[in-house]
């Protein structure tokens, strides 16, 4: 029993990221409002970022900025175990920016759709298209 609890707690991050992702995915598919879908899409993206950041975590390590950096020239020997893995962070910086770029375009499209149909609800828009 303690085993299961510890497994669940240990991998809590993974479970949460999957939960968030599924919330986002469900929202994109099932939500009727275009802006809500966009919110879902961003939650989906953030969940993946959470997953990546979780990969980088290392027990007993600190942030990936080398210490004693100011003014001195000798850094001494740097041990990899002392710092968390920086690579996922780099990747996720990119992913966040991509996310905000997509968000901008998505919102612009939503505004255009709204100008065209005067509503953001997908079923109402489809009804209007069918009437044409």
């Amino acid at each position: 029993m303690a085993d299961i609890v510890s497994t669940v707690v240990d991998n809590y991050n993974y479970w949460i990221y999957i939960t968030l992702m599924m919330i986002g995915l469900y929202a994109i598919i099932a939500k009727n409002n275009l802006v809500k879908k966009i919110v879902g899409m961003n939650i989906f993206q953030t969940a993946i970022i959470l997953f990546y950041v979780s990969i980088g975590v290392k027990r007993g390590a600190t942030i990936p900025i080398l210490e004693h950096a100011h003014g001195s020239h000798g850094y001494g020997v740097v041990h990899a175990a002392e710092y968390v893995n920086p690579l996922p962070h780099v990747l996720m910086l990119t992913a966040i920016v991509v996310g905000v770029a997509t968000l901008g375009v998505a919102l612009a499209l939503a505004i255009k759709v709204y100008n065209e149909y005067n509503t953001l609800e997908e079923d109402e828009i489809l009804a209007q298209i069918r009437e044409e």
């Binding site: 968030l20 919330i23 919110v39 975590v57 910086l93 920016v97």
Partner: protein, 81 residues
Amino acid sequence: MVWPIDLAILTLVVMVAIGSLMVKDLLGAAILFGAYSFMMCLLWTVMGAVDVAFTEASVGAGVSTVFFVGAVFRTSRRTRD
């Protein structure tokens, strides 16, 4: 790293995410989404990803929310779900 904080934030994040999808007002959804981003930012700081957290704070919680608000302002706050 203090794991109870971690767990608490993780749980909160899920709640805020669900909240922002459930609330029947797009402006509210935008603000809750900002809160969600901020929670994420906290979480990543706890995990030691300071740069990512910094970016998320400025991009996710800041500019994204403003974009949402701007778009909602140009369209409508009304939503049925």
